[in-house]
């Protein structure tokens, strides 16, 4: 497709660290390599991350002076972002915005405002949400309102697509019995990817002791209760097994107590928080990776471990069953006995030498690749740009269908947003703006980017 200008909008970006942050960066870098112009709009991290910064390779980041309220997300106030967004989109000649993460208020606002400028919108959902607790109900209600305006939605797994379609009302339902759900055409599944070069397996070790690696935040949702229950049983049953546990969190105390109670100080090693750059060196110390998460939309950590040549044991939750072929992973139900059984199975496979780390690494290389992700995302952009524009009247009708209470509220917001936009058009006319012009040749730029990436790989 022809090169276009894309604005990534999310609350979660560098210098914060995490799955979404990394995804946005890698996707942007690969889109730039494919010849597009990409900018990122996120909130600032005072005192030193403010204003505009450039990241390698030629990724321009706007840090908007908004204050995050909780875990790096800003307050959803629906209007304050418009003046910034309008100026940036006009100055940068943006064709399409790409919002990330359903908890990012900035991203949702971007979708709400972008149609005023005739800019198309794409939304990527990275997480799974339930339907039965107050936090989920509220965030789902916020999301369903903005998704009435979006041109295309990307989810990171098939399970994630079912979840997002339900939460965002992105399906039609037929009258048959049982009712048949038809997901909208503009909902896509594009998985995450990883850089296989960063997770190279180490040469095979002696098979005397088998090391099980557990690497995650130590919180309830990661199933630490299962780990605490299963680890002593596994240590008791297999005298040649030891554990390496990395990560920090409120459940650390449970693990410490378990270790003390069963006198396993020499078998269970606790590393504390592990930096992302050290993950690989921790992973390659082991031969089995254990994940007991209770919910997981994609499970990038599992993929990284498998790429580093570890055999994976995981609970069968969320999107995890989709990410690896059956011979590289053992599944357990989220109960203590079954986790012990699956670990036993994994220990047998590994000690019999049936799992070849080098081969596993080579296979993962062919499965996931950022270049392909960028290519597939490009196809979504293309479809979004070609999709017929939704006019204001239809937007209002769609918004009114949200419900008896939410519908009018969102419609009023939509109208106020339009008026606010007209006011800005009068107050800060486009003619007075200084437009951004690139004084460099895009082809040379792409070449430099390619060389840089080659250096990284070497």
């Amino acid at each position: 497709m022809n090169p276009i200008s894309i604005a990534m909008i999310t609350d979660f970006f560098h210098p914060a660290v995490g799955g979404v942050e990394n995804h946005v960066y890698m996707l942007s870098a690969n889109l730039i390599r494919r010849g597009h112009k990409v900018i990122v709009i996120t909130h600032s991290h005072p005192p030193d991350r403010v204003g505009i910064r450039w990241l390698v390779p030629s990724l321009k980041v706007y840090y908007i002076p908004f204050v995050p309220i909780a875990s790096s997300a800003t307050l959803p106030d629906f209007f304050t972002f418009l003046p910034y967004l309008r100026t940036i989109l006009i100055r940068e000649h943006i064709h399409l915005i790409h919002a990330h993460a359903s908890l990012s208020a900035l991203g949702h606002e971007g979708i709400l405002h972008s149609h005023l400028l005739g800019v198309r919108s794409v939304f990527t959902d990275h997480s799974l949400f339930g339907f039965d607790d107050a936090a989920s109900i509220l965030t789902n209600k916020l999301m369903i309102g903005t998704l009435k305006h979006v041109d295309a939605v990307i989810c990171v797994s098939h399970t994630g697509r079912e979840n997002t379609a339900l939460r965002g009302g992105l399906y039609d339902i037929t009258e048959s019995d049982p009712p048949d759900f038809r997901v909208h055409e503009n909902v896509y599944v594009i998985p995450n990817a990883l850089i296989p070069e960063r997770f190279k397996p180490s040469p095979p070790k002696s098979s005397e002791t088998i090391t099980i690696v557990f690497l995650s935040r130590l919180v309830y949702r990661k199933g630490i209760d299962l780990l605490v229950a299963a680890a002593p049983r596994i240590c008791h049953k297999f005298p040649n097994v030891r554990f390496i546990i990395g990560g920090a969190g409120p459940k650390l105390i449970d693990i410490l107590q378990m270790r003390e109670k069963h006198l396993l100080q020499d078998r269970i090693k606790l590393l504390g928080p592990v930096r992302h750059t050290d993950v690989c060196s921790v992973l390659t110390q082991g031969s089995i990776y254990m994940s007991t998460a209770l919910t997981e939309s994609f499970g990038i950590a599992i993929l990284e471990a498998a790429c580093a040549g570890l055999y994976v044991v995981s609970t069968r939750v969320g999107g995890v069953p989709e990410i690896l072929p059956k011979d590289m992973i053992s599944f357990a139900n989220p109960d203590e006995d079954d986790v012990c059984r699956a670990i036993g199975e994994a220990i047998r496979i590994v000690s019999e030498g049936k799992h070849d780390p080098i081969l596993a690494h080579e296979r993962i290389k062919t499965f996931y690749d950022w270049e392909q992700v960028a290519e597939r995302t490009e196809a979504v952009y293309d479809a979004a740009l070609k999709a017929p524009a939704i006019d204001l009247w239809e937007r209002m009708q769609r918004t009114m269908s949200l419900g008896v209470f939410a519908g009018p509220i969102y419609t009023i917001m939509l109208i106020v947003d339009c008026l606010f936009f007209l006011f800005l058009e009068w107050w800060m006319p486009r003619e007075d703006m200084h437009f951004v012009r690139a004084h460099w040749n895009q082809d040379t730029f792409v070449e430099v980017g390619r060389r840089l990436l080659g250096d990284v790989r070497r």
Binding site: A165, L166, F181, L294, P325, N333, Y368
Partner: protein
Amino acid sequence: MSKEWEKVLWKKQAQPDNYVVPGSFLRSLRRNANFRPYTYWPLVLLSCTITQHLATIFIFVSVFVRLKQQSLHPPTLIWVSIACFSTGYLFWELLDTTGANGEHRRASRIKTVKSSILIFLALMSLSPVLKTLTAATSSDSIWALSAVLFGVSALLADYSAISRGSPEVHERLTSVLSINAAISASVVLASRLADDLAVFALVLFSVQAFALFPRLRRRLGLCHPAIRLAVTIALFSLSVVTTWSLSLTVTRIYSAVQLGVTFVAPAFLVWAQNFKNEIRGPWDVAVPKVNL
């Protein structure tokens, strides 16, 4: 590259990224999987405990008003309290389901007698202090405060019954808060009374009504529905009779509230179940099963 579409992410598939096998979308969705519909009359029976708690509050308030008007003689109230305590304790013993042996029972009875004497004496010695506790506060604030506290108590009270055969369960935090709110309300009301004996009588009565009766009520929950109904009707009639002679308007409002709580609210809940739409799927947070 196989032609057949699979629900996996690692394989390169021939189909576009928005492809769905027709009819397969959301097949793993389950609706109202753990849903057991309520029926009307059992709900009415369950709401009886709320009726009982409200009735206790109104009986208590009418007793206070009589003490304040000095139409109720404090020693009478003390004797009534003691009689209530004895009957209540008798019921408590009869309904004991913990199945403890004789030795253990005797020990616990001695403990009960000891602590009841202690509370009796402590309240008696504290009543002059309680009488002047809120002397500097105006009566209007006291009425408002006690109304709010009684409301909190009714909201937070533990209306569930203990399960049969299980040992005495721990009190939940909310039910402890409820007892605290009710006792505080009675203490601030008691501080409006004229003499020490009246203060003592009222606080003693409040301990019976708000600390001891809720525990007995939880045990009563195991009894035959007829007994629970009888207790509810008795308490409700008593509260109406005691309030009637004080204010007709209050009695009317109170009776309407009680009818609403007992008969209309359960009907509303049964009707609202038509809109129940519980969605379960693979994205839900799994519940870890751990052997204890």
